[in-house]
Structure formats: structure tokens, C-alpha cells
């Protein structure tokens, strides 16, 4: 009888195992077969939430036109890291959408391939955008939008665009004295600083991050942080800080900068196109102008960032991915749709001209970014953000600029291999 119990268990177990086997064994090939027969290849695109929604209809259309399946998957957090990890394991997508300053890291991990765009297609793009996605002399992505910060001001409080930072501070102080505002300037810093938003002031005061190599790329060997120019720049920034004019404050954080502006507590906001939607919602009368520089100093140059499509090096369907990125993404209609999902100036000149008419802010942002500097995409840039931001916060809080920036420069230098 014991044998019979064991036998029953064994037979049933095997039957269940066999059914499990049947499931995993036969389903997959069947699905693959039907996919290749009915629809040809499959293209997987990874993007963040907002862009996924905008991309979906176009991806479906591309799929229908060409008889392929296109899947747009939203990766809402840490898209870059997830992409690198997944592509290493061979489970990554064919196309990924992201900021151009990822390129250095994606290339060093062998995660993306260069893109070959014919010259006549290249000329259709904003020059800065093409420069941004060029790394080591190769084009690594197809840009679709540019972004940079500008000075957004509440025209009810400050009708005139300030020509210099000193003008801005004077206006801000007057408004504060009249109790019309509580802050002079909303430029986000927080306790750990924000290198991206302070950069226009840093450049205006004479600082730089990396020198330029012979081929036009940024040169990680020539680090500007810690050099006398950077110390002089931070001395000027420090004077605007908490112990000086009080225009820059650590209490203004990425979370509250825009809401403080829309709450009419400050007349000036340094932010990008993403802040405009909030200003509109709050019924603020606003205007956009370039971030002003210090009086008698260089002009303020914001970072210009570019959003781009990349072809994954380890994608399963590279040919189709190249087809999508080089021939489909370069269509103005897609750029316009992506602009509607999130209003950043399209990188495609034709698309930009198309939306320029209906959105005056766009031209103003683009004007503010005209003299901007392309955000460095070299891997060494990763070493800048954290120490630079913290040094900024310390200087704003009243720390000695020379000591602080020298230490930050040393830390960054130690991280650059």
C-alpha cells in the first residue's frame, strides 16, 4: 500500500510537471512563431511616463505601416540605470529615449550604438542639438527636443526684464521692502546645491567646468573647478548668498522653487520650460528672458540639454530600431506630438517653426538658450554634480569660497580617471 501511495503521488506529480512543461515548453515558440508570421519583428521602446503616452500612437502607426509589433514601455524611475543593467543582461529594449548627458555612460558600458544620419538629415536639426548628441566624433542619438533654463518673471511685480543680476537684486529688494514679495529670487539650491540651475551665474562670473579638446569635445583633463576663475566666480555667487544680498538661499529647494514663484512670493524664477505649465495654471502673468549676468562680466550661459532617441547596442532588433530612429523619429509630426506632451522646444527646425507660431514662450526659451553651453556628456561629468552642488550650497550658506571650491575641485579630480 505504501508503494501505491508513493505511486499516486509520483504519477500526479509527473502529470503536473508535464503540464507545467507543456506550458513553458510549447507556449513560447508558438508565440514567437505567430509573431514572426503575422507581424514580422518586434520593436521595444523604453521611455519615461510622459513620453510613453505621446509616443504610443506614433509607435502603433509605425507598427501598422510596416507590419511589425511596437511596444512602448514606461520606465518611470531610473531609466538610465535600468537600461544599462537590462541591456547587460540581454533583456533591454531596442530603442531608449533619454537626455543626451547619458551618452558618456551609455557608451562606456557599450549600451548604445552610433547612429548614421545622412548630411541632409543632419542639417534639418538645430546645430546645438546635433553637437550635444555627438560624442568622440560620433553621432549617438537622434535629438527631438532641447531644453535650457531662462529667467521667468512675474510681470505684475517686475514689468521690466533685468539686464544684470544687480538690477534683478535691486528690484527684488524693493519688492521685498514693499512687502509685495518675500524672496528676491527663486533659484533652487537646497542643502546640497543644484549645479544645473546655478550654472548661468557661474559662467557669467567667469567659471568653467571643462576645457575644450582639439576635436571640440569637452576635455576631462582640463578641470575648471578649483581653478582661480572658479574661486572668483563663487566669491561673486557668495555675495548673493545668505550672508550677503540674500538672493540665493538654501531654503529654496527643487520642491518649492516653482510653487513659491506661482504663489507670488518671488518675482523671478530661474527654471525651464517645465515650469511654464505651473505658471499658467496659477494664472500668473509672466514673461521669459535670458538669465542675466553680473554687471560688466561675461554673459550668463545656461546648460543646454537635449532629449534624444538611442539605438540599443544589445537590442534584439537593431535593424528595425535603426529604421525607426533614423527615418521615423526625424519626422516633424512626431516632434510636434512630443512637444504637445511636454512643451520643450523641438530640435527639428521644421517642427520648431511649426509650433513657434502658436507658442511665444518657445521662441523665448530658445533665445535664452542660444548662447548656452551643451551640457557635457563625458563620463567625467558624473563626478561634477554632487561635489559642485554641495560646494555651491556651502558658499551660499556663507562658507569661504576659496577653501570650499579648492576642496570640491580636489574631490572631483580624484574621481576622474
Amino acid at each position: 500500500m505504501r508503494i501505491r501511495t508513493a505511486g499516486v503521488v509520483a504519477v500526479l506529480g509527473l502529470a503536473l510537471a508535464a503540464s507545467g512543461c507543456g506550458d513553458s515548453g510549447s507556449d513560447k515558440p508558438a508565440a514567437e512563431q505567430s509573431a514572426s508570421k503575422a507581424t514580422g519583428g518586434k520593436l521595444v521602446i523604453w521611455a519615461d511616463d510622459k513620453r510613453t503616452a505621446a509616443l504610443k500612437p506614433f509607435a502603433e502607426e509605425f507598427g501598422k505601416e510596416n507590419g511589425v509589433t511596437v511596444e512602448v514601455q514606461a520606465v518611470s524611475k531610473d531609466l538610465q540605470t535600468n537600461f544599462v543593467t537590462a541591456s547587460q543582461q540581454g533583456s533591454g529594449p531596442d530603442v531608449v529615449v533619454g537626455a543626451h548627458d547619458w551618452i558618456g555612460n551609455l557608451v562606456q558600458n557599450g549600451a548604445i550604438d552610433p547612429v548614421q544620419l545622412p548630411a541632409e538629415q543632419k542639417t534639418g536639426f538645430n546645430e546645438t542639438a546635433i553637437k550635444a548628441v555627438t560624442f568622440n566624433g560620433q553621432l549617438y542619438g537622434v535629438p527631438y527636443a532641447t531644453e535650457n533654463v531662462a529667467l521667468i518673471r512675474n510681470t505684475e511685480l517686475a514689468p521690466e526684464a533685468p539686464k544684470t543680476i544687480e538690477d534683478l537684486v535691486a528690484t527684488g529688494k524693493k519688492l521685498k521692502a514693499q512687502k509685495k514679495a518675500t524672496e528676491i529670487l527663486c533659484l533652487q539650491s537646497g542643502q546640497n546645491g543644484d549645479a544645473y540651475h546655478i550654472y548661468p551665474l557661474y559662467t557669467s562670473a567667469g567659471g568653467y567646468l571643462f576645457g575644450t579638446a582639439a576635436n571640440g569635445d569637452y576635455d576631462p583633463k582640463d578641470l575648471g573647478v578649483g581653478k582661480p576663475e572658479s574661486i572668483a566666480a563663487f566669491q561673486k555667487i557668495g555675495k548673493l548668498g545668505e550672508k550677503g544680498d540674500g538672493a540665493l538661499k538654501r531654503s529654496i529647494t527643487p520642491e518649492n522653487a516653482i510653487s513659491t514663484f506661482t504663489g507670488k512670493k518671488c518675482a523671478f524664477l530661474v527654471s525651464g520650460p517645465w515650469a511654464v505649465a505651473d505658471a499658467k495654471k496659477a494664472n500668473i502673468k509672466y514673461d521669459i528672458s535670458p538669465v542675466p549676468g553680473f554687471a560688466g562680466a561675461k554673459e550668463a550661459q545656461p546648460f543646454v540639454g537635449v532629449q534624444a532617441f538611442y539605438v540599443a547596442a544589445k537590442g534584439k532588433n537593431k535593424a528595425l530600431a535603426q529604421e525607426f530612429v533614423t527615418n521615423y523619429v526625424t519626422k516633424p509630426e512626431l516632434a510636434v506630438a512630443l512637444y504637445k506632451a511636454e512643451p520643450r522646444p523641438p530640435a527639428l527646425t521644421a517642427a520648431f517653426d511649426q509650433v513657434k507660431g502658436e507658442d511665444a514662450d518657445l521662441a523665448k526659451f530658445s533665445e535664452a538658450g542660444k548662447n548656452g553651453q551643451v551640457l557635457p556628456a563625458i563620463p567625467a561629468m558624473a563626478a561634477i554634480w554632487d561635489p559642485f552642488g554641495k560646494a555651491e550650497a556651502a558658499v551660499i550658506g556663507g562658507a569661504d569660497p576659496a577653501k570650499t571650491i579648492t576642496a570640491a575641485g580636489k574631490t572631483i579630480q580624484g574621481q576622474i580617471k
Binding site: 506529480g13 562606456q108 531654503s251 518649492n256 558624473a382 577653501k403 580624484g414 576622474i416
Partner: protein
């Protein structure tokens, strides 16, 4: 075979109904005396073993596909072992021990070993894959269009079946209108009269002797298309998507002879350095694409000797202990005090208070931490505005530490209150009443009776809470992010725990450095393990005294 709990399959019999026949091995007959239970047990056994078999098969296919035979061997042996164990009537203690042991290996021992093995490598950004991966990436990323070469309109065609036949590129030059066919053998011109060229796209739509693949069909053979390279004098014609082709040349090529990468344009060479996993040129320049290598004890050396890492280590360790002890201690004191107050029989409306007190516990701590962070803001924060203060909470080292502990107290006391309430109710009131009869003051009776009994019940929880808070990343990353930082040291802040400090070292700059992070984790693991071992030993002594 006489221990009462052992039975064939845990669900097949109730221990209490065990027939008392000591010395006599249980026969299968006794098992079937509990017929209904056996049926359930049998079913459970079949389902569970079926699941095991299913999971094993599900895991086997990818292993076979990847040719990972060692993994497959381990999987087969484990599965066979499990079937043998649960289908036989012997090895009864093992039946209880094996599942737990397997999970222990899978979820504890394996990660620890994996972390330890990572600590000896340079695994991180730029050094993720193998050397072959790096070589492929270097070569692919150096492919450039040959200057002045033609951009062809591409049509994918085959001489055989669209799904399997050998592929050919049908190329048309949009300027000269010449047409070509290209495959791995080279490029040859086609007679213009044999092909039809679309006037709209400039592509070849039909050619004698070839079957043209549409985009759907072609996309199904993506790998073959990407792999097809048509050699030419100046380089090779490669596909660019499915409708265009260009003549490109890889500027950099790997030479196995010298184990180096050569750039044919500049003549520069980068030689492989197996110690660091990079190709390095004579002038010290490294190619960005590297590979994962074993670096021995280099990471351990870095942790111990790099002044950036080792100098703040002990300061951070001290604060880390203060934080974990403070978080646990203060929450316990407050939680217990409230529990005692509500335990008093004279207290009215205790249920109402209890609900109120548990509220912080019911809200997600993740969101609460962010709310608290904003409440500590100098100019806009609720705390400063409400109390008319002007404290730069997160700007000063001590105020930031106090702030973090305050947040921890608010988040943590409901838990301590709950467990203390439970433990208090298990202490018989007669004991405290007896002390008061003996003339003890309430404080004396609390100190001599209630607290020791509470601690017996709560000590393991306190140790667990300590260990949890010792590595409480969220509490720091969502509030101060480790700050404030000294102006001259952006790498270590006043409220940094070892784990947030490690996180910054590993991911803060220059991309991810998993190797270094794993090394610091091993140090932290050693510290936490030592602390836990000591405290459990002391608890055991305490239990012996009071039980």
C-alpha cells in the same frame, strides 16, 4: 522514529491524535486510519511537488539556452533530491529542515557570497561586461561613414525563402541611378533593365532572380541584416535600418597578436591591461569601454587607506551607533510611557487614544519623511513658522541630527507603543498588586517587576529595531541626504550613516562602482553581525535570569 511531531508530510496527521504505540514504527496503515486528512495531505504534496517540478522546468530552459551546465546540474540535483525526500518515508527530520535551508541558501547565503565575490572585482560603470563585449563595443562605435561615399537606398532581398534564405542587399544609388547587389562575397553591379526602381523612394522594388522582403519580413531577420557586411575597397557597406545603406569603416580594430586596439586613422594603439580591465595607450589615455576583472584586495585596500574613505569612517560609525541607539531608545521610551499611561485602569477612552496614536504608523513612512523634510525648511517650513523660530535645521550638524532623531521618534513610537501594550497585557496585574501590598511605590514596582518582564518580551524586538535602524537608508536619504556637509568635504556629511555614505561612494560620482560598494558592505555586515551577536548573547543571559 518515536518523536511525536514527525510524520510523513507535515499535513498528514495531527500530532495530538498519535496512537500511543511507543517502539513500534508507524506503518502506512496508521496513516490511512486518518483517511480524510491523508487526502488533503496528498493533494498538498502533489501540488507542492508539481510546483517544484514546474519551477525547475521553467528555470531549466534559459539555463540550457545559455549553456550554463553547472547551474542546470545544481537545479537537477536539487529537484531530484526534493522529490526523493518527500516521496520516501525516511529522513523525517530533513523534511522539516530542507525547505528552510533552501530558502536560507537562496536568499541569505547566496547574496552574501555574491556580494563578497563582487568585492574582489572592479564591477561598475565602464567595467560591466566581458573583454569580448568591450572589444565589440569599441569596434562598433568607431564605424564611420567613408568620407564622400554614396548613401544607398536599400532593399533586402533573398534568393530563397523570405524567412530563411540567404540575404542580399539590393542597393540603388539615388544620384547615378546605378543598381547593385551585395552580399558577403562583395558588390556587383546589376543591369538596370533587370530591376524596377520606385521613382518615389528610389528603392528597388523588384529584381530578377530575387525575392524582395517587405519591412515586416525583413524586421523578422534583423540579426542577419545587421550581421551582413558587404566588403568594398574602402571599407564595407552596412545597413542603416531597413531602407538605407552606407559605406562605413571601423577606424579601430582589435588585434589579438598584440592584445591591443589599433586606430587606423591616427595610428594610436591601446594595449589591454588585465589588471584594471581597460585598454591603455602609451600616454596613459584609456578607452572608455572596459571590462570586468578580478582586482584582488584593491578595494579593501582603498577602504582602509584612502583618506577620503577611512578618515570619516569612525566619525560616521559613532554617529551611526548614536542614530540607531537613539532611534530605538527614544521610540521605546515614548512608546512604553504611553502604553503604561493607557494601561492604567483609571484611564478613560483608551481605545480612542490608541487609534489616534497608531495613525503615524498607518501612514507610509516614505511620504512622511518627505513631509517632515519640508517641515524643517528654514524659511517655508511649518516648524519654524509655527514656533517663530529661525533655525537652519538641516544646515547645522547638531540641529540636523536632532531633526533626524525627531522624525525617527515620530515615525517609530507607535510601533513600540503597540508591542509594549501587548506585552503589558501579558503581565499579570497580581504581580504589581503584590508589590504594592508589600509597600512598594509605583516606581519601585515598575522598576522591579514590570520593566524586567517587559524587557524579556521586547528585547529581541529592540535588537531587531536597532539592526534595522543601523541601516535605515530612507530615514537619511529622504530627509537630509546625509547633510550638512563640511565645506571642504563633500563626500561625508554630519548625518551620514555608513550605508548612505557607502551609497554615495558607490553611486555618487563617476557612475556606479559596485566593487567598492560591495567591499564597504562587507565591513558594515561585519559590524552589524558583531553587534547583533553580542546583544543576543546578553539577552539570552537576561532571559535565563528572569524566566
Amino acid at each position: 522514529m518515536s518523536e511525536p511531531l514527525s510524520g510523513p508530510g507535515s499535513a498528514t496527521r495531527t500530532p495530538g491524535r498519535e496512537p500511543a504505540r511507543p517502539g513500534l514504527p508507524r506503518s502506512s496503515r496508521t496513516a490511512r486510519n486518518h483517511a480524510p486528512i491523508t487526502a488533503t495531505g496528498l493533494l498538498v504534496k502533489v501540488v507542492l511537488l508539481g510546483l517544484v517540478a514546474g519551477i525547475a522546468l521553467w528555470a531549466a530552459f534559459p539555463l540550457i539556452e545559455a549553456g550554463y551546465w553547472l547551474g542546470l546540474g545544481v537545479l537537477t540535483v536539487t529537484t531530484a533530491g526534493l522529490f526523493y525526500l518527500y516521496l520516501s518515508r525516511r529522513h523525517i527530520p530533513a523534511k522539516y529542515l530542507v525547505p528552510g535551508t533552501l530558502f536560507l541558501i537562496a536568499f541569505q547565503i547566496f547574496p552574501v557570497l555574491y556580494t563578497a565575490s563582487t568585492a574582489f572585482t572592479n564591477f561598475g560603470d565602464g567595467h560591466r561586461g566581458s573583454k569580448d563585449d568591450a572589444v565589440v563595443a569599441i569596434q562598433t562605435s568607431s564605424v564611420k561613414q567613408v568620407p564622400g561615399s554614396t548613401e544607398y537606398a536599400l532593399t533586402i532581398a533573398t534568393t530563397g525563402d523570405p524567412a530563411t534564405g540567404p540575404l542580399t542587399f539590393l542597393l540603388s544609388d539615388p544620384k547615378t541611378k546605378e543598381v547593385f547587389a551585395g552580399d558577403a562575397g562583395g558588390l556587383r553591379q546589376l543591369d538596370a533593365s533587370d530591376v524596377t526602381v520606385s521613382s518615389l523612394s528610389g528603392k528597388i522594388t523588384a529584381a530578377d532572380g530575387y525575392t524582395v522582403l517587405n519591412i515586416g519580413q525583413a524586421s523578422g531577420r534583423s540579426d542577419a541584416i545587421t550581421a551582413l557586411i558587404v566588403p568594398t575597397d574602402d571599407g564595407a557597406i552596412r545597413s542603416n535600418g531597413l531602407t538605407r545603406a552606407y559605406e562605413g569603416k571601423a577606424a579601430r580594430a582589435y588585434d589579438a597578436g598584440c592584445d591591443c586596439v589599433k586606430d587606423s586613422e591616427t595610428g594610436k594603439t591601446w594595449t589591454a591591461d588585465e589588471k584594471i580591465g581597460s585598454f591603455v595607450a602609451a600616454d596613459g589615455e584609456r578607452l572608455t569601454q572596459g571590462w570586468k576583472v578580478n582586482v584582488g584586495l584593491k578595494n579593501f585596500g582603498a577602504v582602509l587607506t584612502d583618506p577620503n574613505i577611512s578618515k570619516p569612517f569612525f566619525g560616521t560609525l559613532a554617529w551611526n551607533f548614536a542614530f540607531a541607539i537613539g532611534s530605538t531608545g527614544f521610540t521605546f521610551l515614548l512608546g512604553m510611557a504611553i502604553a503604561l499611561a493607557l494601561h492604567s485602569p483609571r484611564m478613560r477612552g483608551t481605545n480612542f487614544y490608541r487609534v489616534l496614536l497608531i495613525l503615524p504608523y498607518a501612514m507610509p513612512s516614505f511620504a512622511m519623511l518627505l513631509v517632515w523634510r519640508d517641515m524643517f525648511n528654514t524659511d517655508f517650513g511649518l516648524l519654524n513658522n509655527l514656533f517663530g523660530l529661525d533655525v537652519d535645521w538641516f544646515g547645522g550638524a547638531w540641529s540636523a541630527r536632532i531633526a533626524v532623531l525627531l522624525v525617527q521618534l515620530w515615525l517609530g513610537y507607535p510601533y513600540m507603543f503597540l508591542v509594549a501594550t501587548g506585552a503589558l497585557q501579558a503581565i499579570p496585574r497580581e504581580l504589581t498588586e503584590a508589590t504594592s501590598v508589600d509597600g512598594a511605590s509605583p516606581w519601585q514596582s515598575f522598576k522591579a517587576v514590570t520593566l524586567p518582564l517587559l524587557l524579556v518580551a521586547l528585547s529581541p524586538l529592540l535588537i531587531a529595531s536597532f539592526a534595522y535602524n543601523f541601516n535605515n537608508v530612507n530615514a537619511i536619504l529622504f530627509t537630509t541626504e546625509g547633510g550638512p556637509f563640511a565645506p571642504d568635504n563633500p563626500r561625508n556629511g554630519a548625518t551620514d550613516l555608513l550605508i548612505t555614505y557607502t551609497y554615495r561612494l558607490a553611486f555618487g560620482a563617476q557612475g556606479a562602482e559596485f566593487g567598492l560598494a560591495a567591499t564597504v558592505s562587507i565591513f558594515i555586515f561585519a559590524i552589524v553581525a558583531t553587534v547583533s551577536a553580542i546583544s543576543f548573547r546578553r539577552t539570552r543571559k537576561q532571559e535565563e535570569v528572569y524566566s
